[in-house]
């Protein structure tokens, strides 16, 4: 009878898969990333859903907490090495992006695309805390597309955005995730924001 103290795990077989995939990634086996992505996405979604269910308001969906919790739950700590955490975070950040963009799409679908009261879409501003929900969803979708374009120009810049914005990771955590220095993270974050700023305002000048 297995005697490991594997309490609190989401799904035993999936963690094993994820841990294996991380090991493979560490050893640079081809296809490891592809294997990892859908697994992590799926698990993160479940974890997110559970977190949301626990909170009446849904406000406290903290992606950073999610990513950390997922890492602890999904990765066998006794086998994982220090670098694996970084890999996991990077992938989780991308998964977080998909999850949130997913919500935005569903929101748009429920509205059948239109904005309430026939409002005109306003200039994209992702920091306005007063922005109504529907416009937030649209803004997020626009950002996602812009981020895709950025990714084609410079993959790492888009990853930094995923880590910092979507997963809410700190500079240090992002540095770990992408295996770069913190200074580089700071710099790339500034560049990415500028690039996106430019890109998102392009339509309305």
């Amino acid at each position: 009878m297995p005697s490991g103290a594997e309490s609190g795990r989401v799904d035993l077989s999936t963690d094993q898969e994820i841990t294996e995939a991380l090991v493979a990634l560490r050893e640079r086996a081809p296809g490891a990333l592809d294997r990892l992505m859908p697994l992590v996405y799926d698990q993160l979604r479940q974890v997110a859903h559970r977190q949301l269910g626990a909170e009446p308001t849904g406000h406290t969906l903290s992606t950073t907490a999610l990513v950390h919790e997922a890492y602890l739950k999904l990765v066998d700590q006794t086998r994982a090495q220090w670098q694996d955490r970084g890999h996991f975070f990077a992938i989780a950040a991308r998964a977080m992006r998909r999850i949130l963009v997913d919500y935005a799409r569903r929101h748009r679908a429920a509205r059948r695309g239109g904005l309430p009261g026939g409002t005109r879409p306003k200039p994209i501003s992702l920091d306005d805390v007063e922005l109504p929900v529907a416009e937030r969803a649209e803004a997020l979708l626009a950002l996602d597309e812009a981020l895709d374009r950025l990714g084609r120009v410079d993959a790492r810049l888009s990853q930094v955005v995923e880590c910092r914005f979507f997963a809410g990771l700190t500079e240090a955590e992002t540095a770990t995730a992408l295996a770069i220095s913190q200074r580089t993270v700071a710099r790339e974050w500034a560049l990415a924001k500028g690039w996106l700023y430019q890109e998102l305002r392009h339509g309305e000048d």
Binding site: P2, A5, P56
Partner: protein, 905 residues
């Protein structure tokens, strides 16, 4: 923009480098880096975009925050006005359509049937504050609204009605055909001067009136200012924020402890990281950066609101007014570009860029007014809204005289560290060692060092401040004739919010050191005060402002300054170096602090993260003995609590402990770690005993060491010595949980009255210690108080989970409710979780049921795993019934425990 990759790389590098330079040097840098004109042009565009993005922030708030309402809506499905509410209001109001939705409320257009007029119905979302759902919460809230409803002023949006229906709270105001100031700002950006002045005057008049009535708004912001078609401003939502703050104070955050975790071991986790289950206090942890629910809008919150000062007065509104004025005039509120904690901290300690600098055409008196409104201290702001009005009127009429007596310029004071209240998780174990202290007369030159307050409760900050306190404690402990209170005591009491006098008495010290720490960029500001415990008088205080890289020197300095400031002085020349750190690498040091901090939480997540931190510390400094000891301790806990199989965890613990000792054979922590794991896992009693003695010789004032040693002594039947060690521990640190250990000894030696006495004391100190409840149940069983026994064990089970479920089965079996016992066991077995690590407790239950075969089966399983508690096999009273069984004897021999009848009565 078709571009080659090489082009992009060049541009990226040029712009990236430029951003590091001063603004004036940036363009020349681009000139130098991008000779090609097309490249240059694009680089320039990107650079400008980066600069603007930094100013008016893009992606400032984390995506989760931004997307939260989206997520909520999607998760809640199509959000309509609940039918219950509609019908409850049907005879008065007909809800027509949704006008808008914010974070906490939705606004609907409705028709007031009685008066035949359109109204706005603002509905507070049900989940927003759970406390609002209670009758008491709703009553509190409504009271605040009622006070606000009495206001009657041309620039205050009147409140027509308010009420509660099916758990929703709502209030009714006139429907204003127009827009909010927020929408206007979004539309046009900053406002022309005459418009700004007019709006500000309207707001000031509204505030003056309301403040005279004794009402503070508490949430002045553009979204709460309505503009009608005539361009008048109406201040809305008076009373709401105040009401919510009042209600929030009533409530306790609810959080269920995760009883799914297997907890096998003596030490018990405190509860989930998301919040203390009983007090509702947030536990500091940067996993949850959002922290406690802050009521207020961060960009406009006055410093006293940020710190949660209960004595907020009208001047908080003035600050907010200043922030709004700032935004009207410059297009963004002060500190634009910050979010979350950074923004709140900025309100506390940063002077915003002057309005005049951002917009030169603002008349000097107006700019000066805004600066004053944004003063950190309420006393530095204009006295009241009337004074503000005076300045505005003068500015409007073009008069250029500043109000008499003002220079109009805010003094740029030296940034002062601000002492903030903070709540720390209660670390249950002291891990810092204090050097030998011999016969010192009590209360002569004694000091307790309280944890330094930090601005936020994140792990990094808390770990840092604890590290600072620890360094000072260690340093002071080396002084002759100074008794330094153990850190556990200080931290445990701190969270109970006691005054200096009581604290001093409880810790039995004559002085206390308290202070605050603030890290800002690469600066470090520490304020420290030495106060006399008896009367709270300050004996000495000092503020330090150094670069972070000078941390070590600062610790040394603080320790010296405090030593000299003690009554009676340092008592002789100070040693060349007071603070022993174990490493000169500051980054490694900080990593270590965080590791220790997280280790102290004894939570699963915290422990795993602690591993990472210690490993990283070691990576930076491979000779950092303490980090190895930390690693050993962490693996030990992981093994004890069953988060990692013991056979995986403890060998790692041993390797780390050995390395610690090899690097520094005088380091107590290394020996302590080794002794502990030898005892708990390797079951090498003799060697463990020797190791404990050695560790104690190195660190006689380390209470935890005594606790573990007592446990070892009890396991091998040396109870008198065990109790002796516990007495020493209690003397060193009155708040160390000796009751758990002595309680067990009393239970095992059948002294239930003594057990109950010490265990109830323990529960008083920490009601969530499930072990205390568990042992209490055993004591009650011995006294024949069955009802109490069941109740106590139920409490334990609720707090801990599977281990105490097995114990519950034991209790039922002992009182004759065998069917119930079997039911509990069946449930446990069916849960499908691996249970070998619970073998000890399961065996107990089966022994009580008389099923010795099953009991031995589980004991064997536990033995194979080297599961926790097995060390107590020889002495645990509950196994009395198995003692005569040969198998028991054999098992004891295999474990090297004293076999044969213990003869307790």
């Amino acid at each position: 923009m078709a571009r080659t990759e090489r082009d992009w790389r060049a541009i990226k590098r040029a712009v990236g480098e430029a951003l590091d330079l001063l603004p004036g040097d940036r363009d020349p840098h681009l000139d130098a880096r991008c000779p090609d004109p097309a490249q240059r042009a694009e680089a320039s565009r990107l650079l400008r975009a980066c600069e603007r993005a930094a100013e008016s922030p893009v992606l400032g708030a984390p995506a989760a925050e931004f997307a939260a309402p989206i997520v909520t809506e999607v998760e809640e499905g199509e959000d309509t006005v609940p039918e219950v509410l509609r019908s409850a209001l049907a005879d008065r109001y007909t809800i027509e359509r949704e006008l808008g939705r914010g974070g906490m409320a939705t606004v609907y257009l409705a028709r007031d049937e009685r008066h035949g007029r359109p109204v706005a119905l603002k509905l507070l979302r049900r989940g927003f504050l759970p406390e609002l759902g209670s009758a008491r919460g709703a009553a509190w809230f409504e009271r605040e609204i009622e006070i606000a409803a009495r206001l009657s002023h041309p620039h205050i949006l009147p409140l027509y009605d308010s009420g509660a229906a099916s758990g929703y709270l709502y209030y009714i105001t006139p429907f204003v055909d127009g827009e909010t100031l927020r929408e206007r700002l979004r539309r046009t950006g900053r406002l022309p001067l005459p418009d700004s002045l007019r709006l500000l005057r309207d707001m000031a008049r509204a505030l003056a009136y309301a403040h005279r009535q004794g009402l503070v708004h508490c949430d002045i912001k553009p979204a709460n200012i309505l503009l009608n078609k005539e361009g008048d401003a109406l201040v809305a939502d008076f009373g709401v924020a105040k009401g919510l703050v009042a209600v929030r104070g009533l409530g306790e955050a609810h959080d269920e402890t995760d009883s799914g975790d297997e907890v096998v071991g003596e030490e018990v986790p405190d509860g989930k990281l998301t919040g203390d289950p009983l007090t509702g206090d947030p536990l500091p942890d940067d996993q949850f950066p959002d922290g406690p629910l802050i009521l207020g809008t961060p960009a406009y919150m006055a410093p006293e609101q940020v710190t949660g000062d209960p004595d907020i007065d009208a001047r908080a509104d003035l600050y907010a007014l200043g922030a709004v004025a700032y935004e009207l005039l410059t297009g963004a509120p002060p500190f634009a570009g910050r979010t979350g904690r950074a923004l709140l901290t900025a309100h506390l300690s940063e002077i915003p860029e002057s309005v005049g600098a951002r917009r030169p055409d603002v008349p000097e008196p107006l700019a000066a007014l805004v600066d004053r409104l944004l003063a950190k201290g309420p006393a530095d702001r204009p006295r009241d809204a009337d004074e503000v009005l005076g300045v505005l009127d003068a500015a409007l009429s073009g008069a250029s005289n500043a109000p008499p007596g003002e220079t109009g310029r805010v003094r740029r004071t030296v940034r002062r560290a601000i002492i903030l209240a903070a709540v720390f998780a209660v670390p249950l174990l002291l891990w810092r060692i204090l050097p030998a202290r011999d016969a010192v007369p009590r209360s002569e030159r004694s000091i307790a060092v309280l944890p330094f307050a930090t601005g936020n409760g994140g792990v990094e900050e808390s770990a840092f401040s604890e590290g600072l306190a620890d360094a000072v404690i260690e340093a002071l402990a080396q002084l002759p004739s100074v008794r330094v209170a153990a850190r556990t005591s200080a931290a445990a009491i701190e969270s109970r919010d006691l005054d200096a006098r009581t604290l001093g008495a409880m810790l039995d010290v004559e002085t206390m050191l308290e202070g605050s720490v603030q890290r800002d960029g690469d600066r470090l500001r520490v304020a420290a005060s030495l106060i006399r415990a008896g009367n709270g008088r300050t004996l000495w205080s000092e503020t330090y402002d150094v670069a972070q890289s000078d941390l070590f020197a600062l610790q040394e300095q603080i320790a010296r300054d405090v030593a000299v400031a003690l009554p009676g002085g340092a008592g002789g020349p100070l040693p060349a170096r007071l603070v022993e750190r174990g490493t000169e690498d500051r980054a490694a040091y900080e990593l270590y602090q965080r590791g220790r901090y997280l280790w102290n939480t004894r939570q699963r997540e915290g422990l795993f993260r602690a591993l990472t931190y210690f490993e990283q510390a070691i990576q930076r400094d491979s000779a950092y003995a303490r980090a190895y000891a930390g690693l050993a301790d962490t693996w030990t806990f992981l093994g004890i609590f069953g988060h990692v199989p013991p056979r995986d965890a403890f060998p790692r613990a041993r390797t780390a402990a050995e390395r610690a000792i090899a690097l520094d054979s005088l380091l107590v922590e290394g020996h302590a770690s080794l002794a502990h794991l030898m005892f708990v896992y390797e079951w090498n009693w003799r060697a463990a005993g020797v190791a404990f003695e050695r560790a104690i010789a190195l660190g006689p004032r380390y209470p935890t060491l005594r606790l573990y040693y007592a446990s070892l002594l009890h396991s091998v039947g040396r109870d008198d010595e065990a109790l002796g060690q516990l007495a020493v521990a209690a003397e060193i640190d009155p708040l160390t949980p000796t009751g758990i250990f002595s309680g067990r000894i009393y239970v095992d030696t059948r002294q239930p009255d003594a057990a109950i006495r010490v265990l109830e004391q323990e529960i008083d100190l920490d009601p969530r210690r499930d072990l205390a409840h568990e042992l209490l149940a055993h004591a009650y069983l011995q006294k024949g108080q069955q009802g109490e026994a069941v109740a106590a064990m139920r409490r334990a089970a609720a707090l801990s989970g599977p281990r105490d479920s097995a114990q519950l089965a034991y209790v039922y079996a002992k009182i004759g409710q065998r069917a119930e016992a079997r039911r509990v066991l069946a449930r446990l077995l069916e849960s499908g979780r691996p249970l070998d690590l619970l073998g000890f407790h399961l065996a107990m239950a089966y022994a009580a049921l008389g099923d010795s075969d099953e009991a031995f089966r589980w004991l064997e399983a536990a033995y194979a795993e080297h599961a926790s508690y097995m060390n107590l096999l020889a002495v645990t009273e509950a196994f009395e019934s198995l003692r005569s069984d040969l198998r028991f004897d054999l098992l004891l021999r295999r474990m090297g425990l004293p076999a044969g009848d213990r003869g307790t009565a």
